[in-house]
């Protein structure tokens, strides 16, 4: 596996060589992406990727915490439990282009209402829209890991809490969640990988605007979506190489986030 990983890294490195030379360090710090003048700088897409994933992560954490407690604590068996479990598993199997359509038909109008309410340009598409969509896409992964973690909490711990006079909700908050915390967080962080690299669904709802922005209500773009959009018609060594350089950067960012996630999970497990 690690051979494969290294092979991917080096093939990306070799294919992006013309761009690495031509773009230099400005590739990382600049915010202009202009194929006409062969200016390729990645900041808008790095920020776009991190912003969409981070907002998605926040939404997904809340939702998956709720689902994990519901499925792991209150409905462990019975017809409702199996319906919930199957539904969550099915959500994981839906192709991302279908999620894209769901986004176009449900999230875009909803976000447009929100944008109108706060006085932002009512595009409907944008970073928030794709974050909402991503949150639902990563939910099945984080929720099913979370459920496992919640069911793994030893019942004698919970029984002890209850026998000391704790209410069921106090037991959940003070015993179950602290015990399962690292596992639930680990599940969310693992599913972040999907959010970082998700392409099709994001392209359909993010607005594909290549300017640097921190406004989550406005349109933006992500690294994966940029590659998907421009790769097929990219001509010229530097242009193609720059798109591959974006892929290399995405590869590096996902590696760093994965390692950081592992460290966080280990540290919390140790506490």
């Amino acid at each position: 596996m690690s051979v494969l990983l290294i092979a991917i890294f080096f093939s990306l490195l070799i294919s992006s060589r013309p761009a690495l030379v031509a773009n230099g360090f400005r590739f990382l710090t600049g915010s202009k992406w202009d194929p006409v003048t062969d200016t390729f700088q990645s900041l808008p897409f790095v920020i776009g990727t991190l912003l969409t994933s981070l907002v998605a992560l926040v939404i997904a954490t809340v939702l998956s915490l709720a689902l994990a407690i519901l499925m792991g604590e209150y409905f462990r068996t019975g017809p409702f439990a199996s319906i919930m479990r199957t539904a969550v598993e099915l959500l994981a199997g839906i192709p991302s282009v279908v999620y894209g359509f769901i986004g176009l038909f449900f999230f875009v109008p909803a976000v447009r209402l929100l944008q109108e309410a706060v006085g932002a340009p009512p595009y409907g598409v944008g970073i928030l829209t794709s974050s909402l969509l991503l949150a639902f896409m990563i939910l099945p992964y984080s929720a099913s890991i979370g459920r496992e973690m919640v069911t793994l909490v030893p019942s004698d711990l919970k029984e002890a809490a209850l026998s000391l006079g704790a209410t069921p909700s106090e037991t959940v908050w003070k015993v179950t969640l602290p015990y399962a915390r690292s596992g639930i967080l680990g599940g969310v962080l693992l599913s972040l990988g999907r959010a970082l690299g998700e392409t099709m669904a994001v392209t359909m709802v993010i607005g594909n605007s290549n300017t640097l922005t921190f406004d989550i209500l406005g349109p933006g773009n992500t690294m994966a979506s940029l590659i998907a959009n421009e790769f097929s018609e990219a001509s010229g060594n530097v242009y193609l190489g720059s798109l591959i350089e974006i892929a290399l950067l995405l590869f590096a960012i996902s590696t760093v986030i994965n390692i950081a996630g592992k460290i966080v999970v280990n540290r919390m497990a140790a506490v």
């Binding site: 194929p35 018609e233 001509s235 193609l240």
Partner: protein
């Protein structure tokens, strides 16, 4: 004994089919997606009539150029002309042969879908993000009979690299100095305003969803989906509605010998629609490379000749604009310049 007899029969069968395969010609091409429906129909017809199979992969103009450069295809297809500069990176010189013409239209989402009249500078300033509202004085002045709402204009552009963007930005670069210096011409641009949609359906979908949106799509796409689009003022000062006829008419100008130099955007033609373009097939000028059989080259050149002549009858039913006669004449000259071992393939 029995087994060996079966083996012999099998061998003969293999050899026979092998021979049959080597006799029939199979060509491989790749490139532009815009003319793909036209090519698919044509290659199918040609196969029925002449028994030459063509495998065409619509991977995009950039991909078509790369595949030709790597010599993995017999011909490449592109919506944009390869610049002299970029041509230097190819292993050998190649020619552009015009196949069919197309156009891009400016479409919008306004109540009642009125038919708007726009001029080049207004279109440029809208897409530069300078004209921000539909009831801007400059739009109202051109459309006195239409009541324009006080809605913000949302620019919708292509997010993927595309020949449609290339022709549209080529037009804007010609008519607006500001566009030329700030944005320029290309298949992908650094857009100053608006949101991006993937492909014609992506742009059309966003325009449909956003009140006050304006975007550009291929003429074929607008016709097939009955979308409202603007009438544009051309270089001669006439307001022209985009149609197959006005697209072909854009090429009614003096055609230079090197057809590659003809650019159909903003031509002098009085009835020509200003955002028109050719789509091209690219083949190496010298076809004797990589041990290619002569028969295959003959087959390919006959096919290209057929597309620019008899094949043109299939263009209009599929909403593509035919090549004007003058362009066909020039295309003939280019087709005849393709050689095999120094000898012209077509007489």
């Amino acid at each position: 004994m029995k087994i060996s007899r079966i083996a012999v029969v099998a061998l003969i069968l293999c050899a026979a089919t092998g021979l049959a395969f080597s006799q029939s010609i199979e060509l491989v091409g790749a490139g532009a997606t815009f003319p793909a429906p036209f090519y698919t129909k044509l290659f199918d017809e040609y196969n029925k009539q002449f028994g030459v199979k063509v495998n065409y992969q619509a991977i995009g103009s950039g991909g078509g150029q790369t595949q030709l450069k790597n010599k993995t295809v017999d011909f490449g297809a592109s919506d944009v002309v390869v610049t002299d500069e970029a041509m230097k990176s190819f292993p050998a010189p190649f020619v552009h042969i015009p196949m069919v013409a197309g156009a891009a239209v400016v479409t919008y989402n306004l109540p009642g879908s009125p038919e708007l009249k726009l001029t080049a500078d207004v279109v440029a300033d809208i897409f530069l993000g300078r004209i921000k509202r539909w009831n801007d004085g400059r739009i109202v002045a051109l459309n006195a009979s239409v009541s324009l709402p006080n809605t913000a204009i949302t620019v919708v552009h292509r997010s993927d690299g595309s020949g449609t963007t290339a022709v549209f930005s080529d037009y804007l670069s010609k008519v607006s100095e500001d566009w030329k210096s700030k944005v320029g011409m290309g298949q992908s641009l650094n857009w100053p305003a608006g949101v991006g949609g993937k492909g014609n359906p992506g742009v059309a979908g966003l325009v449909k969803q956003l009140p006050g949106a304006i975007g550009y799509v291929e003429l074929i796409y607008a016709l097939q989906n009955s979308m409202a689009y603007a009438t544009l003022k051309n270089k001669s000062g006439n307001f022209v509605k985009a149609s197959l006829a006005s697209t072909s008419a854009a090429a009614m100008v003096t055609i230079p010998d090197d057809v590659t130099k003809v650019n159909l955007t903003d031509t002098e033609a009085p009835d020509g629609y200003p955002i028109s373009t050719f789509t091209w097939i690219l083949v190496y000028r010298e076809q004797n490379y990589d041990n290619r059989p002569k028969a295959k080259v003959d087959g390919m050149m006959k096919l290209l000749w057929w597309i620019t002549h008899d094949g043109q009858q299939y263009a209009e039913p599929l909403s593509y604009a035919k090549l004007p006669k003058a362009v066909v004449n020039k295309a003939e000259v280019i087709l005849r310049s393709v050689t095999f071992g120094g000898v012209p393939v077509l007489k």
